[in-house]
Amino acid sequence: MLTKRIIPCLDVKDGRTVKGVNFVELRDAGDPVELGRLYAQEGADELVYLDITATVEKRKTLVDLVTRVAKTVNIPFTVGGGISNVEDVKALLNAGADKISINSAAVKNPRAVDEMAREFGSQCIVVAIDTKNIDGIDFVHTHGGRRPTLLQTREWAKEVTDRGAGEILLTSMDHDGVKNGFANEITADLSSLLSIPIIASGGAGNMQHFKDVFTAGKADAALAASIFHFKEIPIPALKQYLENEGITIRR
């Protein structure tokens, strides 16, 4: 049976993890490679590295990081953050990334999704969508959720799927950081509407939230950051819980 996936997300700046990760097992908790390896050992199904570096040195730093992760980590990983064209994607995939994720660049230039999918295959192109509900309508937002667009989330998700996206990483800005559960309704809508997997993100606060997003939310995978980093929910305990609740999970 195909399992539901648990995906820790690591925010990286200048080649270091940010958000005050606190792990006693690690000599260097700021090292994204060490942290990734630990998550892989604990049973994470995939990793997402999100680069928030803003400097011009960004690309080189990121390629170096991807190379080190690929050498060390034995599960799939996705890299996102500021990727805008085929050349960026090529450099990261050649360095060993399994998938790349694009967000604002796809909104700005939707044809980039077609180009990337044609060049490298849909399976490695993840389109990240930040969504926020405004007066009852879900709109796509860019720039970390700060900038609203006129695109409606369901229509945009359908469009990028048709353009060749292999997966959708859906982050609900209404739920992100609040820890009161994932956005199950829109996640379920997209999962039913689309022929590609949906990764739900934003709102994980306890173990039941994961169960809910896999059942009510029909998500194929669930992503979270701080609750894993701060060990509020250890991955082995989460997987044990989900298995007990009848969710198909890799153990």
Binding site: M1, L2, D45, K71, D98, S122, P197
Partner: protein, 194 residues
């Protein structure tokens, strides 16, 4: 242990090289006949599209080389599909090591089949130490049909398909052992120990 990883127009070969290095093998990415022939083991990785890959292999006569090798040989992902007789992907005639047809998953469920799925009906020294509760990582839209003569493990997505194949010195796996954590490392280690 010298491992030749066949260089052709397939994506994501770097991860296979890194996985070999992690297991202590000396892996080289090469399309040189002599280097491949002399190596202890040969790995045929791949991610991409079947007809383009076969065209590339034929143009460089790597198809004939692959068919003539005698050392343990391991096809991964697209590598497995190319070792079969024929692929529905652009109606492509493949290498024919396994007289099996490669078909596209129906779009009843989400395609590609992406994520972790377990191995079933395991029967091979290549799978020593593993059981049907072990999971491997898949990303594929096409699958090889089950043939009891050559299928040494199955997985189930909508229906059973060949997870691993074996014939003589040729082994092949549809999932990505290089991305399948401990289970993948067990399979690669078993292959290196053949």
């Amino acid at each position: 242990m010298d491992v030749a990883v066949i260089k052709y127009n397939a994506g994501n070969v770097q991860s296979v090289l890194y996985a070999m290095e992690r297991l202590g093998a000396n892996a080289t990415l090469t399309d040189d006949w002599e280097t491949i022939k002399k190596s202890d083991k040969v790995v045929f990785p791949g991610q991409g599209e079947a007809s383009t890959a076969m065209k590339y292999l034929r143009e460089r006569k790597l198809d004939q080389l692959i068919q003539s090798l005698e050392q343990p040989f391991f096809g991964i992902c697209l590598g497995l599909q190319l070792l079969c007789e024929h692929s529905e992907e652009y109606d492509t005639s493949c290498l024919g090591v396994f007289p099996i047809r490669v078909k596209k998953f129906p779009s009843v469920e989400k395609v590609p089949h992406m994520g972790w799925n377990n191995l079933e009906h395991l029967k091979s020294p290549l799978l020593k130490g593993l059981t049907d509760s072990d999971y491997v990582y898949y990303v594929h839209s096409y699958y090889a049909e089950v043939d009891p003569r050559y299928t040494i493990a199955t997985s189930h997505y909508m229906h059973d398909f060949s997870a691993l194949l074996h014939r003589d010195n040729y082994y092949a796996m549809q999932a990505h052992p290089e991305k399948s954590s401990r289970v993948g490392e067990t399979i690669l280690t078993n292959f290196l120990n053949l």
